[in-house]
Symmetry: D3
């Protein structure tokens, strides 16, 4: 049983705002992330799958397929996008790093038949990242 | 004569669009960067000053003052901003990495009395950066 | 249930010495780390908290509060300090990376009401780090 | 109970080929990694051990001994080698990152009496790594 | 006048051997790099061009074209290759990092009409790199 | 003519103090770096040499000799040392990053017969570095 992790990057913008909060609450809780024009990040995504090593190929997963799924389900949908306005996942959810990790997990979970999805890690900056393992 | 470089980071969003271009030209030249909703980056800024070492302090420049100038002139103005809409430098100039480096040079040049400004480097991503030395 | 990690850096010096060891033992076990003048590192600290995502804010933890606690309990106490001489935790314990991770865990554990402390990671250099999960 | 991780690097070459596959299968499954001349990587190895902290030394493991074991069992055997041709582990197993992590685990497991081996991580590139915990 | 740098990676293998040297000289001068099976690296390439910023696009160079030229002239030719055996540049020249930087400069120089080639930097490992500016 | 750069690391401690300053001046100018117990850093050193490529070896400089000189003249003298107290260069000069770069240049200049010393770069932290080219 091994765990294989592949990284990818995408650039997107977002802002934090809850319409149920007062303007003061939005400002206090979200600070400069509340700016409605948005701001952006170079996100780094790490996708970890686990499984047994196929003795014939030496692979736990076909890397080309894994890359295609990551590109199709995540990168193509989010790269160079304003997450709040252009990605349906964030129509009613704030695109924090926490929610982004959960959203990417859900996007990948059903498509990855090759191996078991183990972890999604999202770096918003080099100094801040979130891990999600599908735990309730 | 030594050269001292200090790094800082800021997160901003931008998009590329020239109103004098046709929509087709904008799309061909700028590709997915032409998306008007914008997308973003974690920019890394490197500011290099040159000068003689003060024999009494061992410093070429007071690091606290350098940091304050970088914060006041660049970070406070650009961090968590949509460059096209919120930073006056880009009212009529496209906020490419090239123009961003020139803009930051101009912002710092007049304020840095402590030492001579030598170079401004701006990373848009870890794989793409621009250097400007004030050369015409 | 998500895991959020925030990094911070601090610079400190230390040396390794056990007064119950003979000089030869101290030299053999600690090598050049036994130099009483001390030497130093740029330590990198990663603090991981776990918890449920607040549906209203999208946060597992208020990042400003987390940063304040990390600054107050760890960075302010240890940055630009000689750990053996100036940080009480190391009055009778050798400030190895192992003991530093445990010490930082204890400092944060009681203060973090916002979310559950999951892991403290301390890098002494980019090539050496220790993880502590509060396990006995 | 703490977990200590030490990194090391080595440079090696390899190629992927299964003599039981047809040439078409080898090409389809392994792509340009099937080139028999081989290609290479700067591998990064992370070895994690777990154990209790020795109260007298503050160490979970003697770092010099750990380094010697890593050098003797892994680096000396694999650095500047063509893995398929010069390392016996890969006589009949394809030197994928998965198999490399398992091989390194087996090489270290029996030699590490100092502390319990917890994890072997191998980076083939900065964007691809495998973890092995000795799980069947 | 700005300087724009773009990075790319490729993985290759090589060995160092001069047929005019005796075996002893080859061993003494090249050490473990003399192993004829070869060993490999993840090379990082930085290509720097200089030029004036086009006022209409904000670009010094079309990034897509630059990437295509780098891919066609360098990456496609060298990635996943044994440099001594499969890249004609090294038929009679030893593929040291020095010669690799010169070779990449020559490959790019004639193709880059978009802007002036300023520098080629090649990292063999994170701790060793060579710069070439086309100077005789 | 190529430029080759080799990196090395060392860990040291230092503090900033000028006995000709009043205590208030020392505190105002040097801040928390004035703490006489010292604090420390993982310094990264980059040494760049320039020269013609030897056609027979493909080298601009013998890397083993370069490494030996860097180890003997710099690393052995400064690693795990308190710079103010244990390195004679800083008996009467404050060990700022500026003075450290100049000191390392002087140590290497006379010993490097192999190739011309071009630049010494010293990183005190990943966010602060100094370059010295031997310019008066």
């Amino acid at each position: 049983m091994v765990y294989l992790t592949r990284k990818a990057e995408f650039s997107a913008s977002h802002y934090y705002h809850n319409p149920e909060f007062t303007p003061e609450e939005n400002q206090r809780i979200f600070g400069k992330c509340n700016n409605p024009h948005g701001h952006g990040h170079n996100y780094t995504l790490e996708v970890t799958v686990k499984g047994k090593v196929d003795q014939r190929s030496g692979f736990v997963v076909d890397l080309k397929e894994l890359k295609e799924i990551m590109n199709r389900e995540v990168i193509d949908a989010m790269d160079h996008r304003f997450l709040n306005k252009e990605v349906a996942d964030f129509k009613d959810r704030i695109p924090t790093t926490e929610n982004l990790a959960i959203s990417i997990w859900l996007r990948l979970k059903s498509k990855l038949n090759l191996a078991e999805l183990h972890r999604v890690r999202v770096y918003e900056t080099p100094d801040l990242f979130v891990d999600y393992y599908g735990e309730a």
